[in-house]
């Protein structure tokens, strides 16, 4: 059946090219084989349906979304009252900050991840130290290098705000001022998570091409630039990019060592996923703990089974590529300024730098020609579209 569909799509493209109408197929349009077609289709459809997070009882609640949106921009969540979540996750910058490494109270070791499509994540942060969006939302509030607040500070300031206190009572059925401070902060983080779950990247030119391919619409397929089509073929084929940047969100949700230096500073290593798993296990806020609202712990399986391995050293999140053109600089340390730099990195990747026997053998220098590199960048740019909230 798939073979038939592939043939039909090829015939459709050919048919469009032969039609007497003016809409000719570009002479360099890419003809995808059966395996390539299947690989392309696996990157959709988009957007995905929303399902509430069972670990967060206010996930999907419009009142929680409203409270979370207000808190996201509220500097009272920082110890010195000068910074908010939006300082490093600026909606005008695709919910990132454009810096190589973010600047909270201090300069941190990692790049600010663009906040979008987070409901699809299994792990959060570059090292996956949190297993829920609310758990991740707590971390920068308490981190001394970032917002550097205490639960008592946050509770005291927000409980004095009548609107916030009323919203809190409606959502959580308790008075914010009377709540145990850590529980109050967890609940506020759950409202923050409810808001962040609504940040979803819109459909892109790639999605239009992918859907046209699925229904065999040659005319719509022909509107996708030929360079992007060639780049897409590299992405799912020789480049093997889609092995990790898998599925509709262009990430398998896991971690890899891709040869980026992991020294956060001279003599100081960023432990990456290795430290992330240790932090996850030690956290009272993980999904196995008492703050999970789901008695069945139905989403805690990965936390229960994740295994720390030697190869986790130097591994960092496989980031989603949706909206990638708007989220420079790249990599966990923001060390690559442009998409061209990223493609060059993979084209010439230093396999000696990767962990010897432990390292994944999936990476190898691609030695792309200048045109191939440009095609891959052209494809990556078609994964982006302005966020509605950023307009």
């Amino acid at each position: 059946m798939r073979r038939l569909a592939a043939v039909v799509s090829l015939l459709a493209v050919a048919g469009a090219a032969l039609a007497p109408a003016a809409r000719a197929t570009p002479p360099d349009a890419v003809i995808l084989g059966e395996a390539e077609r299947a690989a392309v289709l696996a990157h959709g459809p988009w957007p995905p349906a929303f399902t509430p997070d069972p670990s967060n009882r206010v996930s999907g609640n419009p009142d929680a979304v409203a409270l979370g949106r207000a808190l996201f921009f509220d500097t009272r969540l920082s110890g010195d009252g000068r910074r908010s979540c939006a300082t490093c996750h600026d909606p005008a910058r695709a919910f990132a900050d454009g810096r190589d490494r973010s600047l909270g109270r201090d300069r941190v070791d990692r790049n600010a991840i663009a906040l979008a499509n987070l409901r699809l994540n299994r792990w959060f942060g570059w090292a996956g130290a949190a297993d829920s969006l609310w758990g991740q939302s707590l971390r920068p509030i308490l981190d001394e290098r970032e917002l550097a607040a205490t639960p008592q500070q946050v509770q005291g300031r927000l409980a004095a705000d009548g609107d916030v206190a009323a919203a809190y009572r409606r959502l959580f059925g308790a008075g914010l001022a009377e709540e145990e401070p850590l529980l109050a902060l967890v609940n506020l983080a759950k409202a923050l998570a409810a808001y962040q779950e609504t940040i979803v990247t819109p459909r892109t030119p790639f999605d239009d091409f992918r859907d046209a391919l699925e229904r065999g619409d040659a005319a719509a397929m022909a509107r996708y630039p030929a360079a992007a089509q060639r780049g897409l073929r590299l992405f799912v084929g020789r480049g093997r990019c889609s092995a990790c940047h898998h599925g509709p969100n262009f990430t398998n949700g896991e971690f890899d060592d891709v040869g980026v230096p992991y020294f956060a500073a001279p003599g100081r290593v960023d432990t990456g996923r290795h430290g992330g798993i240790a932090a996850l296990r030690a956290s009272p806020f993980n999904l196995l703990g008492r703050y999970n609202d789901d008695p069945a712990r139905s989403t805690a399986g990965p936390t229960r089974h994740v295994e720390v391995q030697h190869r986790n050293w130097g591994e960092f999140r496989v980031p989603s590529l949706r909206n990638v053109a708007a989220t420079a600089p790249y990599m966990h340390d923001g060390s690559l300024a442009t998409l061209e730099d990223v493609v060059r990195h993979y084209s010439e990747v230093d396999i000696e730098r990767l962990h010897g026997d432990d390292g994944a053998r999936i990476l190898r220098p691609l030695h792309l020609s200048p045109r191939e590199a440009a095609d891959l960048v052209a494809f990556l740019r078609t994964l982006s579209a302005p966020l509605p909230t950023a307009r």
Partner: protein, 153 residues
């Protein structure tokens, strides 16, 4: 005369072949049964079989059809093993030979009856070829069965 022939009227040679085949099957089944102790499996519908000269299991994935990046489990029934008595332990693992890595998750295995196991916490995080290994233990003796999975993107 041409045309179809009732099965009962098969020519003598074909009948003889069928008889030989049936005897072989019966012998094979008898051999299996004779080697099968009381814990041998009664395989429910939907289970797949995996055999080596030393051992045989029946298993099914739960839910059926592993997908990239989704936790899944397995039910495993030991059907045949070299030593008397059911295997006391099962270790299930998976490797991706082309990439030189295994899973990022360690499954847990619970014994649900003699020679029966329930596995939870498997995840194959990339599309491609995976080799799943079922290690049955009888005392210190390990018997390995392996199965290739081609995971679609």
């Amino acid at each position: 005369m041409s045309g179809s022939r009732p099965a009962a009227a098969a020519p003598p040679r074909r009948r003889r072949r069928r008889t030989v085949g049936a005897v072989c099957a019966a012998l094979a089944a008898g051999a299996t049964l004779s080697a099968s102790p009381a814990w041998a499996c009664e395989v429910p519908e939907g289970f797949m079989r995996l055999a080596s000269p030393e051992a045989e299991i029946a298993y099914r994935w739960v839910p059926a059809g592993p997908k990239v990046g989704r936790l899944f489990g397995a039910e495993v029934i030991a059907c045949r093993a070299p030593e008397p008595g059911p295997p006391s332990r099962l270790v299930l693992d998976a490797q991706m030979p082309a990439h030189g890595h295994g899973m990022n998750y360690r499954p847990t295995v619970a014994e649900t009856g003699p020679g029966r196991f329930r596995v939870e916490g498997l995840m194959l995080h990339m599309a491609g070829q995976w080799i799943v290994t079922f290690d049955l233990y009888q005392g210190d003796r390990r018997i390995r069965l392996s199965q290739t999975i081609e995971l679609a993107p």
